[in-house]
């Protein structure tokens, strides 16, 4: 599904190597943790996959297509096929929970009828069916992140990219969120999570790609650190 070939990302005229000759392959339906210290290149990789940035060098294929050659409209279509989850949730404050989730479908041009059907299902899945009329400020951090996840899954994406999704949550809420990702993955959605949360990674025992100073250090199933 995803093929990254010798991708390098340099900042400040080549002084900073965010990624160096990085290669990675991912099959559809996989669950992958990107781990490593701050500045290791995790977020850069997420941004490249989301086509928010272009690498200095290398190739990235998504479902067989060269995403680096995408035109403006292709980029929009690419982003629409991916569910994105952020550390700071990025919910729209002025919209209710329902509207925040519905918004993802409105952009895709779904009919009001379809939206009325799909949004409650997505909210049920994340356990927030009863809070659809609440505004984000009325929710806890864990709940806000679950709305973020509902917004990502409501459009049935093939891939979910999450950048530090538990970074602002306490341990219990973080665990809840990770369980949600696991459930979503079990239904067939590919998931890539960039995280620092070593305890959760250890607990989940999924494929772990460890980065250090922009280089791939380890790629195996297991915990946060090499055992």
């Amino acid at each position: 599904m995803i093929e990254i070939n010798k991708v390098s990302m340099l900042y400040q005229g080549g002084k900073i190597h965010a990624l160096e000759e990085m290669s990675l392959q991912l099959k559809a339906g996989e669950f992958l943790f990107l781990v490593g210290p701050s500045g290791a290149g995790k977020s850069t990789l997420i941004k490249l996959l989301f086509r928010e940035q272009l690498p200095t060098k290398g190739e990235i294929y998504f479902e067989g297509k060269d995403i680096l050659a995408y035109k403006k409209e292709d980029i929009l279509a690419h982003r629409r096929s991916i569910g994105m989850v952020f550390q700071d949730y990025k919910l729209i404050k002025q919209k209710t929970v329902f509207e925040n989730v519905a918004f993802a479908l409105e952009i895709l041009g779904f009919s009001p009828k379809e939206i009325q059907q799909k949004v409650p299902k997505a909210l049920e899945k994340v356990g927030l069916g009863h809070k659809e009329n609440a505004f984000p400020k009325e929710l806890s951090g864990g709940e806000q992140q679950r709305v973020g996840i509902a917004r990502a899954i409501v459009k049935d994406p093939v891939l979910i990219l999450a950048d530090e999704p538990t970074g602002n949550l306490d341990r219990d809420n973080a665990l809840e969120v990770m369980k949600l990702f696991e459930n979503i993955n079990e239904e067939g959605t590919t998931i890539i999570i960039a995280t620092h949360a070593w305890d959760l990674v250890d607990r989940m025992q999924k494929r772990v790609v460890a980065l250090s100073s922009g280089k791939l250090e380890r790629d195996e199933r297991g915990g946060y650190t090499h055992e």
Partner: protein
């Protein structure tokens, strides 16, 4: 955009305006204030021009005749000249009487009546445009029946100078104030867009096209701008009405007749509405541009 997208965009604009009501009202209020300043200036400029025009059109040409000429025949020739609007004949007897009245005692100049009357017969000429004054004066001066033509050259020249300077001043000030108003409106809208930049970024991340993101902002900007223009036009209308009523009652300012002709006021009010609405829309459009680069 498919057929639902437009509906979502419109609904989103309405929703966002109602949920950001305070910000929207503040924005509209500030737009209204900047337009009141611009509109107030335009009204003052229009009225000053009107005042000068009134003064100018009251300036007359005085044609003093030689003794014993046919005044009616000279009057006929003058009225046929280009730019001459109206003539009135003042005989030397009438002139003396008017003068005596002006001096405050009708009996004062009794000794100068009849044969002793030193005043010449006079034809007063009103012209269409003060600029034609000197041309008409020159032509009439050539008539053999005419002794002297007087039209207060200095006053007319001074008035023309003032008019031309005022017009230049109003043009420069008008452009500056209009630019200021546009700058204000665009920046007020920009501030309201900054308050919502996060929303734009989220929309971008979710794959919304620039058009889809811009449309509600454009609509909201125009609605806020329009609301601001309505407030400014109503406020200006009320203030102007009060002021013109006050001036109308004041007999001391006889020459000043405020402009109340709707045909001259309408372009100002309509112009304010169009400028306010379009500028606010334009402001929204360019304000969110930088947040679209995600």
């Amino acid at each position: 955009m498919n057929r639902y997208a437009l509906r979502y965009c419109i609904r989103q604009s309405i929703q966002s305006l109602s949920r950001n009501a305070w910000l929207a009202m503040l924005t509209s209020g500030l737009i209204a204030i900047s337009l009141i300043i611009l509109g107030g200036f335009l009204l003052v400029a229009t009225n000053v021009n009107q005042f000068i025009y009134t003064v100018e059109s009251n300036v007359e040409l005085s044609v003093f005749l030689e003794d014993g000429v046919d005044a009616g025949e000279v009057e006929g020739r003058i009225i046929n000249l280009d730019g001459a609007v109206e003539t009135s004949y003042v005989s030397k007897e009438q002139g003396l009487e008017d003068f005596a009245v002006a001096m405050g005692d009708p009996t004062l100049l009794r000794d100068l009546e009849g044969e002793n009357n030193p005043l010449p017969d006079l034809i007063r000429v009103r012209v269409e445009d003060p600029e034609q004054m000197s041309v008409i004066a020159e032509v009439v001066q050539q008539y053999p029946e005419v002794e002297l033509v007087d039209y207060g050259e200095e006053l007319v020249a001074r008035l023309m100078q003032i008019t031309s300077r005022l017009n230049s001043l109003f043009l420069v000030l008008g452009v500056l104030i209009a630019l200021g108003a546009v700058f204000l409106i665009v920046n007020i809208i920009r501030l309201s867009a900054v308050a919502r930049q996060e929303e734009v970024v989220v929309m971008k991340y979710m794959g919304a096209s620039n058009g889809y993101i811009r449309f509600p902002f454009l609509m909201e900007g125009m609605v806020m701008g329009w609301a601001g223009t309505v407030v400014s036009v109503v406020a200006l209308g009320i203030i102007y009405r009060q002021l013109t009523a006050a001036f109308g009652q004041d007999s001391l300012i006889l020459l000043f007749q405020p402009v109340t002709d709707i045909q001259r006021l309408l372009p100002i009010f309509l112009g304010l509405m169009i400028v306010g609405t379009l500028m606010a829309g334009f402001g929204s459009f360019i304000s969110i541009r930088k947040y679209l680069r995600v």
